[in-house]
Assembly symmetry: C2
Homo-oligomer: 204 residues x 2
DNA sequence: TCTTTTTTGGAACAATCATTCCACAAATGT
DNA sequence: ACATTTGTGGAATGATTGTTCCAAAAAAGA
């Protein structure tokens, strides 16, 4: 046996599971059932790994939840932000973002809504660290929307009747609302009405 | 002892607490901590009655939650509906509804949000009975808003550019959104931006 | 193959969960 | 005051909670 510093140079047994795959399963479970609604047993059953592997790899239930939340965020938020930053026809892109949210909501038979919105409602007021992740997420999306709206205003496809920041906050608010509506099982007509009126605000 | 049918005509010991007062305390607790976040011990501590009285009077935790939800609904929703129905200047009333929601959110140091929104997110997908209460609530508020908007459109204070039902759904969606934002501790500037843009949609 | 290190499954843990139970207190017509 | 009924406090219930522990399995350089 030989070592560099405190690290052993033995390469021993490696994990039988892919950490990222397991995290994806945790996202699905927490997203569907919430933090308090998901038990350690639920996690063991759904993740397909034993308690010891679970706690050894992720610490505890709360840390696993936080990692799952960040995993979700890195997919959902970054996807949305990329769409806006790479957009050439920003008015079409904003509409696309809303249509996507509606499509996802209608397709989701478990009515999971949005993991970030669910977390905001269940945990944000009681957990500072989680609240700060939520707020970082909100700021990132708001900034991206703001940038997109400015672009649209300069291109002349969006009205300048209100400032871009206000529009961005307004759009974000409606996305939150849609995700709550999804949880109550709203139908296409309701979603379409909301999206149509929301988007009409931006028009010149 | 004498009886009519199976009912005894003895008038015996009456409850030491007011059922409505206790229900109000249950509303506050569930509103703040959610269903799964509130334990039976929490309830005993906060309601000031013993386990036996609690279970004897309200059945079980879920039934107590449902009664609390209906209690909240009967205050919050009916208040809002009355405001609209008795309004003479409907544009001012709609603005007042939004300003009230903002004021409440900023004043609430526990960031409880809205009990109905919280319930929608936590329980609606997993409990049919609760989902139907939520939907009834949504329909009642949407109907009242729709009526108000029609009134405003006839009075010429609201635009007819979209139909009243679509506007009602849109307004409801923004109220939901505000309640989620409240949970993340949003500040006055954010709320004011959202409300200003939302209300601008209705203007002629 | 031996040694060393890490992962694994599952038993075991104390704490907490929602709920039930019971002996006693309180109230009221008689 | 008595009989009868119902409400009350708190102990007790078994199930489930999140977490820890341990013996055994697996992996890989020596």
């Amino acid at each position: 046996m030989w070592a560099i510093g405190s690290q052993s140079c033995f390469m021993t047994r490696s994990k039988l599971f892919n950490e990222n795959d397991v995290l994806d399963k945790a996202v699905q479970l927490f997203w569907c059932k919430g933090y308090h609604g998901t038990s350690a047993q639920d996690l063991v059953d759904a993740l397909g790994i034993s308690r010891s592997s679970l706690y050894d790899t992720f610490g505890d239930k709360r840390q696993l939840y936080i990692k799952a939340l960040q995993q979700y965020r890195s997919v959902a938020a970054k996807g949305l932000i990329n769409m806006i930053e790479e957009s050439t026809q920003i008015d079409k892109t904003v509409e696309q973002i809303f249509r996507m949210a509606v499509k996802e909501s209608l397709a989701d038979k478990l009515t999971k809504g949005c993991f970030v919105v669910n977390t905001t409602v269940e945990l944000a007021p009681h957990d500072k660290e989680i609240a700060s992740i939520i707020n970082e997420n909100m700021n990132d999306i708001e900034d991206a929307l703001c940038l997109g709206i400015k672009k649209g205003q300069e291109q002349g496809v969006f009205t300048k009747h209100q400032n871009a920041r206000a529009f961005a906050r307004f759009l974000f608010n409606n996305i939150s609302g849609l995700r709550v509506a999804a949880k109550s099982g709203a139908d296409k007509k309701v979603f379409d009405d909301i999206v149509r009126v929301t988007l009409s605000v931006l028009k010149k």
